[in-house]
Amino acid sequence: MIRRALFTTLLLSSIAAPIGAQVTSERLLRAADEPQNWLTYSGTYESQRHSRLTQINPTNANSLELKWVFQARSLEAFEASPIVVDGVMYITQAPNDVVALDAKTGAVFWVYQYRTSPDSRPCCGSVNRGLAILGDTLYMATVDAHLVALDAKDGQPIWNIEVASAASGYAMTLAPLVIKDKVLVGVAGGELGIRGFLAAFDAKTGKQVWRFNTIPGPGEPGHETWSGDSWKTGGAPVWLTGSYDPTLNLTYWGIGNPGPDFNPAQREGKNLYSSSAVALDADTGALKWFFQFTPNDPYDFDAVQIPVLVDTDWFGTPRKLLFWANRNGFFYVLDRATGKFVSGFPFVKVNWAKGLDADGVPLQTMQPPGQPTYPGVQGGTNWYSPSYNPRTGLFYLSVWDGYGSIFTAVESEYKEGRFFTSGRIGSPIAPAAPMVPFSRRTPINTWTEEAGHGAIVALDPRTGQRKWVFPMTDVSTSGIVTTASDMLFTSTREGHFQAMDARNGAVLWKASLGGAVAQAPMTYAVGGKQYVAVASGSGMFVFGLRD
């Protein structure tokens, strides 16, 4: 054990980039090679949320202790995942303040305060999921749909552009993705009748380079999948960071629900590219392929999950794959060069479809009025980051087991800047019983048993078998990070942060942090010491091994 720890320390020291070195696009390409840093939302372009750090391992995890806490001055859900660059952590404080801290001690270098427009009206909280970096510049997407560039050294703004109109219901909550010399962002607002898009901006100037409309306009392929004028207000937002394959020069993004959410009669057709995965040319934004998970989605099953890129031997053939645990309850394996369906299976109870056909198209079985649909409106999983560990070959995700909703469609009229969902959601349990909220704001769990519960699942992507399951009492909104020492870190919405053995699901250590976790843990190192960071309630807690 000692030898292993020493080796790790040496490794960390030898590969550390010089303090103060700029984050070049080449460093972003090889982010996995500098595991002491965490340079993008998901850690690397492959978005496996897997770190090569090994100092914390199953034999010493029980000596983890709290190192420092950052207390955000915000009552919003803390959904941001920090980035760490050469000992400096950059984090957002909801909605859109940026804080630079000493990643070793939590001491604050600077705070940038952003004043959001009073027109801002994001559907589900004024949250933010983090930053991107290129050179010495940080990039933040704001809830009033601006993209802001900041000097990473002093927090001073460099440029600030309006990406879309907040007054019309557009917002941005995702962490941007930097590819080469461009900053990619997408817009939220699927509950407010927006027309979604993903756009790339010049990192130096903020000038738009390309834009991909997630709903094709007149004359574009796919436009015919929207009835009448429904395409104009059809949603299809992009509110979670995508991935990138430099060898194919393709960037992968999940597209959200069509709008209005719950009444497909107001938007007949498949509603491309809502509830789909898209692969775009990173230089031009041209659509290379798409795969629609939930055609004419009436359940708010956004395909807003992390696209996880995996190069692996697939039944004897090396493949470039895309693993996707969808909110609709199915796990998909796609060929990421072509978008072709490779395999798929349900990972939770599903009754909205009886299966997938040979092309991955769901065989839909809409439930009778008043009967519960599984999974429910929040999905079998959601935006909570999963993790893929190449060592175990397992895909780890937070699921909502046994959770359903009763969907009722109603007619509603679009009015700019207002909610446009056309439906009601009911609980399948006792009349007037509390439904499972999308985020937890009190320490009391009022939705137990029949309402469903959360679980961490280790999924074999080849067979769909659950290798192990860690059931929770409450549902979970926490993501997952794994490491090369077979550690798995995750949390519960109850506020427990726990270190687990990725091989068998054993809980090796835990801490009760007292607030819901709505973010994915990440790990980094400073001075040869590995840390793990997680946000709970309004605080971000950083743990390391006892000195």
Partner: protein
Amino acid sequence: MRSIVAVMFVLAGGLGLLRAQVHLGQYAEADIVYGSAIYANQCAQCHGPNGDLIGGVNLRGGDLKRAATDEALRGIMTAGIPGTAMPAFKLDPSEMIAIIAYVRNMRDFESKSVRLGDATHGQTLFEGKGNCTTCHRVNGKGARLGPNLTQVGSVRPASLLELSLVDPTSAMLPLNRSIRAVTKDGTVITGRRLNENTYSVQLIDTQERLVSLEKSDLREYSVLKTSPMPSYKDTLTSAERADVLAYLLSLKGPKS
């Protein structure tokens, strides 16, 4: 569409009774009905159909800390609440009036479809023939084995309270279920669940003690899905149950 029509029909049919019994005051019936439709589209996403989906913010309860006045409620909907998930809303003046009218009257909505009796007699039954205080507490009087009912008229719809008198198991919220635990040394602990997480459960036991148990310390742990409350279907007449229901609905919070 059908659901909204149904709600409007019930409301329209019940408003005569509602007006007579629950004193809508300054809110016009048409505004309340209109407001219910706007609420379903603009507010229910976060607040839930019953107004209780956000912890600490029970719209049905009527005790809104940040919105004691209609003007304050209007201000919150117009500007949002910075630092929280409450956004600013873009509503027409007529819609604003309607939604305020609806929110201020949410808790009385179901009372139109149930039979209400005499609240004073209901209290007598509650404390006497019904033996309700054996388990329930109201304004400092009664036991704590069942949920405290001091403000149950604010936080529970009339239909659910009516159901609880005849079929308490169906009406029981999962949180309130009884639990039975056996520790590794054989001690049996029973009580009403107050909270539960993956690793522990919090309850009030039969001696009215607050107890927190680590599940790893237990030999057995079970959640009882049957309510310990008896049905009053046969022990109270329908008129008596209507009286008790009227009393329960009159319980809007501690007496000042």
